[in-house]
């Protein structure tokens, strides 16, 4: 599974403060105030809080968030593209797909 270099460059080193799923969207809030929203199919993993992003890998509808502690949060997006967006604490767009 290939690394998503662009998204990795944006969120690498950020620590997950909270994860919240609603209406088919998963909102991952980071400690620095930024938020990543992912349009997901099904349930999101619940054990990501406290983890720090090491890398992002993506293939098809699978989006893997590799954490520094060795865990991987595996998300299923609704489609291979157009499912992920990151905004910083000022709501400025940092990444979109």
């Amino acid at each position: 599974m290939a690394r998503n270099q662009k998204l990795t460059g944006v969120i690498q080193g950020r620590t997950i403060a909270d994860m919240h799923q609603e209406d088919g969207k998963l909102a991952i809030h980071f400690m620095d105030g930024s938020t990543m929203t992912v349009k997901i199919a099904g349930q999101a993993p619940a054990d990501g809080v406290g983890g720090t992003i090491k890398a992002v890998r993506q293939k098809g509808t699978t989006l893997n968030l590799d954490l520094v502690d060795g865990r991987t949060l595996s998300l299923q997006t609704v489609e291979p593209t157009a499912s992920v967006m990151v905004r910083d604490k000022n709501h400025t767009l940092e990444y979109a797909d």
Binding site: E79, T81, E94, A96, D97
Partner: protein, 264 residues
């Protein structure tokens, strides 16, 4: 003030919905969106009869099939799309998705520079990378082709960011019929000469079904390094050779914020 835009089903609602059975999407829908499986449509055909004189060839589409490509937008604001460098924040379309686009339009082989996988609603107008917003657009059809649409995209972006045109209106018009939109905003029935580009790209011996863009006059096909943000012209050492990158026209590279590599 930021006014979030919702993802909407933009094109010919009747045509698109009846033909494909796809649900019109909106942000914040309660039910999960349907899987991104497109109903196969007729290969490489026009969704409607073009105006007389709009098509010189029979096979390449000059308008997308609304069943396959109704258009799709990101949840972005006017401020987002009018921020310099916005397009560079958007992920590139994965090659697997591009291949799927070609396949669904029945295009199995094509020469370098013959087509690009185009965002029907352009990135700079908030278009998304969803396959519902992608179609194979020819550089070779005359007079309407990818370069002509590029000119329209630039003009609509200029109008939107100068507050002369509503973003959602621009999205709807380019998605509904980009040729009609061109005629409306450029006040002409035919593309301006400077927008048409050359009719055929440079011939190459190799067939590369993944490369895009055209080495055409005034619109050279360059290789962009999607990691460094630089682009390379033909003949440069890193042209087509960086680990991450893609081909696109030089105009598109500049519009997306890439910088020309020096020396090399």
């Amino acid at each position: 003030m930021k006014a979030p835009l919702t993802s909407v089903c933009l094109v010919g609602l009747g045509l698109a919905m009846i033909g494909s059975g796809m649900a019109c999407r909106s942000a914040g829908t309660v039910a999960p969106p349907p899987p991104p499986v497109r109903t196969p449509g007729p290969p490489a055909v026009l969704p409607e009869q073009p105006a007389p004189g709009t098509m010189a060839r029979n096979s390449p589409p000059i308008l997308p099939d609304p069943n396959l490509t109704p258009g799709d937008t990101l949840d972005v604001t006017l401020e987002d799309v009018c921020t310099p460098g916005y397009s560079r924040k958007v992920r590139h379309v994965p090659i697997e998705v591009k291949r799927q686009v070609y396949a669904e339009y029945g295009i199995r082989h094509h020469r370098p520079g013959e087509y690009e996988v185009d965002h029907l609603i352009s990135l700079e107008l908030g278009g998304s990378n969803s396959i519902r917003n992608l179609w194979p657009e020819s550089f070779e059809t005359q007079p309407w082709n990818a370069r002509v649409k590029d000119a329209l995209e630039n003009e609509l972006h200029r109008l939107v960011c100068s507050r002369q045109l509503d973003l959602r209106t621009a999205q709807q018009e380019i998605a509904t019929n980009w040729i009609a939109a061109y005629k409306k905003y450029f006040h002409t029935d035919r593309p301006r000469a400077r927008d048409r580009g050359r009719s055929a790209p440079q011939e190459t011996a190799e067939t590369d079904t993944t490369s895009e863009g055209a080495a055409a006059e005034g619109n050279v096909q360059v290789w962009v390094n999607t990691r460094s943000g630089k682009y390379f012209r033909p003949g440069m050492r890193h042209y087509g050779k960086t680990k991450e990158g893609q081909f696109m026209s030089e105009a598109e590279a500049i519009r997306q914020g890439y910088r020309a590599a020096k020396g090399d």
